[in-house]
């Protein structure tokens, strides 16, 4: 019933608008097209000014409304340089935006047809065209330079001593794996996977797997000030590890290993104080469409101090031990031996 009413209402509005439109054409023919056109042209020229004013005020109000809702300061060192670069790009594009929109609306108003002006013949000017080819070219060169510097830093190899954590996506949750006391992630292969006792397909012939810790809800435990490298994979379709607070993101592609690294600079607790939101939590969102549960593919990141991290680590049981209680291997000695980060982890 309400649907029908709505349709009727819309139809009614259309009919009314059409009648108004018709009558305005009637007025035009009574007044004489030319006079009417002149009048209308003037009104429309002024309305361009009104639209422009509304546009600018709207942008300003939108900004005021949005700013308190935005994400807090970046929580990683990459994120900090990201925020800086973002600011520069905003200034450059913002200036061009304000200038060109102003010119567009101002010209539209200023050069409305009044009827008695002679047409101005201005066909081409090499000088002007050179100016507005070169200036954008220089601005682009600057943006590219800053961008590439930042890009090559963040895509460079992770520094020595970085923590390594594996993050694997599946429909529709994340699974994280920590290397355990030996500091090395063991081999895994997709044919070993089964959802009962080997959700990542670890290869039990590889001794390095024995102490690996798996967190099935994908929780990431990071240490403040310590670089972390995420080794990213997928079990089924393409997912994406989205770390909006750290300004990082990387696809999880089946059959391919991808990686990102960054250094968290605020613990979760510090961030809760900073934002004044006791519920604040770092979240991992899936940022690549992966099916009907895409929107619910969430994991939590906890950034803590080294001491807290150690306590947490101690409480964890290796995935092997969890699933083979009869074996129950003695917990390997936590060897803080210098880790060889150049050794590549083979995922296959």
């Amino acid at each position: 019933m309400s649907g029908l009413l709505l349709v009727l209402l819309v139809a009614l509005i259309f009919v009314v608008l059409y009648q108004v439109a018709r009558s305005s054409e009637m007025i035009a023919s009574i007044q004489g097209e030319e006079i009417f056109d002149k009048k209308r042209n003037k009104i429309l020229a002024y309305s361009m000014l009104v639209v422009y004013a509304a546009f600018m005020i709207g942008i300003y109000c939108c900004h005021l409304y949005m700013m308190p809702l935005m994400a807090p300061e970046a929580a990683s060192d990459h994120g900090q340089s990201y925020d800086f670069m973002f600011k520069i790009t905003i200034y450059v594009t913002g200036a061009i935006f304000l200038l060109t929109q102003f010119l567009l609306f101002w010209f539209a108003f200023k050069y409305q047809r009044t009827g008695d002006k002679a047409p101005f013949h201005f066909v081409h000017s090499t000088k002007l065209e050179l100016v507005w080819t070169t200036i954008p070219a220089i601005a682009m060169a600057v943006l590219v330079a800053i961008g590439l510097k930042s890009w090559f830093t963040m895509t460079d190899m992770a520094p020595k001593g970085a923590m390594q954590i594996e993050m694997v996506g599946k429909q529709f949750n994340w699974i994280s794996r920590y290397p355990g006391p030996d500091g090395v992630l063991g081999k895994r292969y997709f044919t070993n996977i089964n959802d009962k006792d080997n959700i990542l397909g670890l290869d039990w012939k590889d001794q390095k797997n024995m102490d690996d810790i798996i967190v099935p809800n994908g929780e990431l435990r990071l240490v403040k000030g310590k670089p972390v490298e995420l080794i990213i994979g997928s079990r089924d379709v393409i997912h994406d590890v989205g770390l909006s607070h750290f300004r990082m993101k990387m696809d999880a592609v089946p059959g391919i290993t991808t990686r990102i690294w960054f250094t968290p600079i605020f613990t979760t607790r510090e961030m809760q104080e900073k934002t004044g939101n006791p519920n604040f939590v770092y979240e991992v969102s899936c940022d690549q469409m992966c099916g009907k549960g895409h929107y619910s593919m969430r994991a939590v990141v906890i950034v803590e101090t080294q001491a807290e991290h150690n306590i947490w680590l101690k409480k964890q049981q290796s995935y092997y031990a969890q699933n083979h209680p009869e074996v129950n291997p003695p917990a390997a000695e936590p060897t803080p031996a210098p880790k060889d980060t150049t050794k590549q982890i083979t995922m296959k």
Binding site: Y18, A21, E25, R40, N41, L44, V51, C62, M66, L69, M70, Y82, M85, F86, T89, I96, T100, L104, F107, A108, Q112, R113, H121, F122, V123, H124, L128, E129, T133, P136, A137, M140, L143, V144, W151, F152, T155, Y189, I193, D236, V237, I238, G242, S244, R247, M248, K249, V253, P254, G255, I256, F280, C286, Q288, C290, G291, K292, G293, Y295, R298
Partner: protein, 606 residues
């Protein structure tokens, strides 16, 4: 009768003497079917493309209304959803599978059926022969086939909405493995097959059309119509067609390989997958290969959408400012620049796939280079209206709106094209805002400008002005209200393609905003229906055009009779003596000199 038309075309091929050719009407002999349905007249075909495009725009727009209801009011139920979606929205609550189906088809339909076929199909067909002085396309028959392949592609896509597993639902880019494995989502079943077949047919349509446009422009220009005297619309259509002809076949190959992976057991895109409780036998393929193939079309595709809009905006800004387009050669060169660069930037859609950082760097550089020709175009448009005598007709307003939107949307491209910034903004609402403004809304504005401007030529009647003005203001303001705040959501990291944000601590604060956006989107949708209403009422009831050249424009289409028959000119095709933008004192108090007017004594050609 169709033979006559074809034979007639052969006459036109003898290029030098066609001006002396006496053209005869054949319309009175034509049956309704051959005149309006299986027509080979480029003007009828263009209207077929336009009306089919309008149909798809309504379907795609309605889909966006439905998923905006879900996004704006995730807690509510809507009876209208049950009415339209049936079991996909039990008790008025949309199923997530259908949500993803709707966003997928919304994207596919708007990008390919509306803004490719509906835009360049309509205006390339309509304007190329009329503006270069040809009686029809080089091959009217292939031209007709082009439309019918499009129609069948559309029909198949439409059917896919009604099958029990639903339409394709992997996003309009349909990345495998999600789209390759029927276990991965319901929409990856039969719906995906229909999607692929539909796209394959669409590629055929697009190639038939594109080849025809290129051949026509290169070979069938009237006497005196050198390339540099062509209106910028025709230049834009030429490069659009070149882009399509070179890139659409790659999409076809991507689609064929995907069909093989789906049904023939190949592993082009599949490797090391464990799904639905078993490990698949496929190893060695790469899902990233698909993305390369897809975006090799996908990026040129956005210029396939933009260039016609740019061309028409150039023409309309010049005509209604009563001033020549500023920097004609720079405009042509920037079109060439955009066309070449369009092929070299596709991987900027893939910065976060783990591609080689060095390669990423190259694509950053090439991507930001596109800003230069784009900036040249914007400044030239601004200078075109500078010191003009602007008539605020409806097409002029839409062309001005086009420039505003193109600036706003183009600038945000500088963020996304820069990989170090993209790594945060990728697949967030910032992307949604960027491409909807720059290639969605602004291309629509170019299209609306074109429809309002050439409607008198199409139907011999005007569209209603007052409704046009209402349409413009609601759409222009609405577009910014909808998409501007989305930039902020994206900067905050809010991912796109989410069905519900309410359980996310980082994104749930935008609930009120999403609601506001949804309401604005629904209003703007109804304003578009006002346009459709205006269009169809004006076809029959609009104010009649009484002069050949109602806008006082220079290009050749305005030298044809008010309602030209098949063949366009009653007498010989006019000869061209000057460029298309001689908006200047004609010595008799007028402010324009059409292209077919010979140079005056001592007058220099541009």
């Amino acid at each position: 009768m169709s033979n006559e038309a074809t034979i007639h075309q052969h006459d036109v091929h003898t290029h030098d003497d066609h001006a002396h050719h006496e053209h005869a009407h054949h319309e009175h002999k034509q049956h309704f079917l051959t005149k309006y349905v299986f027509s080979q007249d480029h003007k009828i075909i263009s209207r077929q493309f336009l009306i089919t495009g309008i149909f798809w725009a309504i379907v795609g727009g309605l889909m966006s209304v439905f998923f905006r209801l879900q996004l704006g009011f995730p807690e509510e139920t809507f009876k209208v959803l049950s009415t339209f979606l049936g079991d996909w929205a039990p008790n008025g609550k949309m199923d997530p599978e259908m949500y993803y189906g709707l966003i997928t088809i919304h994207g596919t339909v708007l990008v390919f059926f509306v803004l490719t076929a509906g835009l360049s199909g309509t205006f390339s067909n309509f304007l190329i022969p009329l503006q270069i002085g040809a009686r029809d396309m080089a091959s009217p028959f292939l031209n007709m086939l082009s439309y019918w392949f499009f129609a069948i592609a559309g029909l198949i896509m439409f059917v896919s909405l009604f099958i029990s597993t639903g339409p394709a639902s992997g996003g309009w880019t349909t990345y495998p493995p999600l789209s390759a494995l029927k276990e991965a989502s319901l929409g990856s079943g039969t719906g995906m097959d229909l999607w692929l077949v539909s796209m394959a047919l669409f590629v055929v349509s697009s190639l038939l059309g594109g080849l025809n446009y290129i051949v026509t422009i290169l070979n069938m220009r009237t006497k005196g119509m050198s390339m540099t005297r062509m209106p910028l619309t025709v230049w834009a259509f030429l490069f659009t067609a070149v882009l399509g002809v070179l890139s659409f076949p790659v999409l076809l190959s991507a689609a064929v390989l995907l069909l093989f992976d789906r049904h023939m057991g190949t592993s082009f895109y599949l490797s090391e997958i464990y799904i639905a409780g078993r490990a698949l036998p496929n190893v060695g393929g790469s899902p990233i290969l698909y993305q390369h193939l897809f975006w090799f079309l996908g990026h040129p595709e956005v210029y396939i959408i933009m260039l016609p809009a740019m061309g028409m905006a150039s023409e309309i800004l010049s005509t209604h400012s009563r001033k020549p387009i500023f920097g004609y050669m720079a405009m042509v060169l920037s079109l060439i620049g955009i066309t070449v660069l369009a092929f070299l930037v596709w991987a900027h859609h893939m910065f976060v796939t783990g591609m080689s950082p060095f390669l990423g760097g190259i694509f950053v550089l090439l991507t930001l280079l596109i800003a230069i020709p784009s900036a040249v175009k914007v400044f030239n448009w601004l200078t075109t209206i500078f010191r003009g005598n602007i008539r605020f007709t409806v097409p002029m307003l839409f062309a001005l709106g086009f420039v505003s939107l193109f600036i706003s949307g183009g600038l945000t491209g500088l963020f996304l094209g820069n990989s170090a910034l993209d790594i945060h903004l990728h697949d967030t609402y910032f992307v949604i805002a960027h491409f909807h403004i720059v290639m969605g809304i602004s291309a629509f504005f170019g299209m609306f400008a074109g429809v309002y401007h050439w409607f008198p030529k199409m139907y011999g009647r005007f569209m209603n002005n007052t409704l046009g003005y209402i349409h413009f203001f609601i759409t222009f303001v609405g577009a910014y209200v909808i998409f501007w705040p989305m930039h902020y959501e994206g900067i905050a990291g809010m991912p796109r393609r989410y069905y519900d944000y309410s359980s996310w601590e980082s994104f749930k604060q935008f609930a009120d905003l999403n609601q506001m956006i949804s309401i604005a989107a629904i209003i703007v949708f109804f304003a578009q229906l006002l346009f459709v209403f205006n269009y169809f009422v004006s076809v029959w009831k609009g104010k009649k055009v009484t002069t050949k050249n109602p806008w006082n424009a220079n290009s050749l289409e305005w030298t044809t009779p008010i309602l030209p028959g098949h063949g366009n000119w009653d007498g010989p095709i006019p000869e061209v003596h000057r460029w298309a933008y001689d908006y200047k004192d004609n010595g008799e108090g007028g402010d324009f000199i059409p292209q077919n007017v010979p140079l005056r004594d001592g007058e220099e050609s541009h």
